[in-house]
């Protein structure tokens, strides 16, 4: 279970990115995080994985208040969460295969396990052919899919994806959503920040809308817009 309790985040430059937000996400839920550009979606995600410190409030992940986590414990938190970063964050000196394998290497997984698991997830995101390429040799969408593969490779109990389909064509986006749906059905909690209104509207999952650092909507089976205000 993930719980944010009265969480606020003010950046060093004075910008208040989150203003006293509270949110409960049960194990196995599938939550869309939506909201306009700069609303605070990525900030929520970064607090969950301790990329930023929380200013006030509590964040409880799997029973532990991570705002009080010791530095040495952070890597273990991050391993239990698979994250698709909005800016991909691939290691430029590693091939696609090595980038995905790296997420397993840090857990000290066995060589055998790595050799078995990595090709499977690369296949899932349709990158088997690109496994020996370096990130700079990939298209934008291919890089994004490497990031998705890496987030899934350890079979984390929580998967957080920040705008994971921003560089993918509609078909590929649907493939990825199917994948997310599958692992969600197997019990993985999924939190996905997205701007893709088609996806949100068709998936009919829980929708949490952030606006200017506060949660303005939280619907069990919501659409991208609250009351049919279409474009």
């Amino acid at each position: 279970m993930i719980e944010l309790r009265n969480v606020s985040k003010k950046f060093a430059n004075g910008h208040v990115a989150l203003n006293n937000i509270s949110l409960n996400i049960d194990n196995g839920e599938f939550v869309f995080l939506i909201g306009s550009s700069g609303a605070g979606k990525s900030t929520i995600i970064k607090l969950l994985m301790k990329e930023h410190e929380t200013d006030s409030g509590k964040i409880i992940v799997q029973g532990k208040d991570i705002t009080k986590l010791k530095r040495a414990q952070i890597p273990y938190l991050r391993r239990s969460i698979g994250v698709v970063f909005q800016d991909f964050r691939l290691l430029p000196d590693k091939t696609v295969y090595e980038n995905v394998a790296f997420a397993m290497e840090v857990t000290e997984a066995s060589a055998k396990e790595i050799r078995r698991q990595v090709p499977i997830v690369l296949g899932m995101v349709d990158l088997s052919k690109k496994s020996k390429q370096y990130p700079h040799q990939l298209s934008g969408g291919e890089q994004q899919r490497v990031s998705i593969a890496r987030a899934m490779v350890n079979g984390p109990s929580i998967l957080i994806a920040d705008e994971p389909t921003g560089n993918l064509d509609p078909e590929m986006s649907w493939e990825i959503m199917k994948l997310f749906n599958e692992i969600n059905l197997k019990g993985t909690t999924i939190i996905m920040a997205t701007h893709d209104l088609n996806i949100v509207n068709k998936m009919k999952k829980r929708v949490v809308e952030v606006s200017d650092g506060v949660i303005v909507r939280d619907e069990k089976r919501g659409g991208y817009f609250s009351e049919n205000q279409n474009l």
Binding site: E51, P75, R78, R89, L91, P92, A103, T107, E108
Partner: protein
């Protein structure tokens, strides 16, 4: 830590050296350059010290004997002198020998000695060399208590000057090598800092996907060791070659010039290997770890 992880570190460390060619070349060659400075200076200091010791050991003490002693007495006096603590060697110089030496030494002014041959005023003497020239005073005291000795002369002032000169040489060269080692260490660790800085983003990405500090450090340590090792090996080879040629040059130039000898190649190279390898590897590792600290905290 599993064996597998260490293997991963080694593979990664080597891989990183190979993949970042520009950076590896720049940092290894900076390490070599910095170690070269240490190496050159180390050799100079070794030789200065060696020369200073040589000069010091040439300091000698003259023990002049009373006139008309029998050969047996002289012989037993020689034995007695040898047994004095602090004495390295004793050599007898007869009064005739002394006159001949003087004749030779004075060269152009030797005509002043003409006529002395008949009535040689010079005494018999022992030339005493000392283990440690700075003990000359106490040795002289012990020696003068031996009977039948006229005078003990050891150029107190000359000795003091020499000791002072070698002292300045030693302190000076040690100070300079200390400064140079400091500078080199500084340059190497700065170089490493820059290579780590160039990879700060990668370091943070590793942390973001769940790597522990130790896991990020591992490959850098391996890389540091390799950097130091490669740097020190190449430097040692360079210095050895340079020493070979320049010592030949100096020897040729100095034939019969000064009583200064150069240290043998083997001694120099073996101490160099040790010094440079230790310095190189240590800085490689410590430099990496220190530079990482800032970027690993994400």
């Amino acid at each position: 830590m599993k064996i597998r992880t260490s293997k991963f570190f080694i593979r990664e460390g080597i891989g990183s050296l190979r993949k970042n060619k520009t950076m590896s070349a720049a940092s290894i060659s900076s390490v070599i350059a910095a170690l070269l400075v240490i190496g050159i200076f180390f050799i100079i200091v070794l030789n200065v010290d060696y020369a200073a010791s040589n000069l010091e050991s040439q300091i000698e003490m003259m023990v002049y004997l009373q006139d008309g002693l029998s050969e047996t007495i002289i012989a037993s006096m020689g034995e007695e002198l040898k047994s004095v603590s602090g004495v390295k060697d004793v050599q007898f110089i007869s009064k005739n020998q002394a006159l001949m030496d003087l004749n030779e030494k004075w060269g152009d002014n030797a005509y002043l000695l003409e006529g002395l041959e008949g009535d040689n005023p010079l005494p018999d003497s022992f030339k005493v060399t000392l283990i440690n020239p700075s003990e000359a005073g106490s040795v002289a005291l012990s020696v003068s208590s031996i009977s039948n000795i006229e005078r003990v002369v050891y150029g107190k002032e000359e000795l003091n000057k020499l000791l002072k000169a070698t002292y300045i040489l030693r302190v000076g060269s040690l100070a300079i090598i200390a400064i140079l080692i400091f500078i080199s260490v500084f340059i190497i660790s700065n170089t490493i800092k820059l290579t780590v800085y160039a990879r700060r983003r990668e370091i943070s990405i590793m942390k973001y996907v769940g790597a522990t500090d130790q896991f990020v450090r591992g490959p850098f340590i391996v890389e540091g060791v390799l950097l130091g090792l490669i740097g020190s090996i190449i430097t040692t080879i360079l210095v050895a070659i340079a020493y070979y040629y320049s010592s030949n040059f100096i020897k040729n130039q100095m034939i019969g010039l000064l009583s200064i000898e150069l240290m043998p190649m083997k001694t120099v190279v073996s101490s160099l290997v040790l010094l440079l390898t230790v310095v190189g590897i240590l800085i490689g590792i410590v430099g990496s770890l220190l530079s990482l600290r800032k970027f690993i905290r994400v």
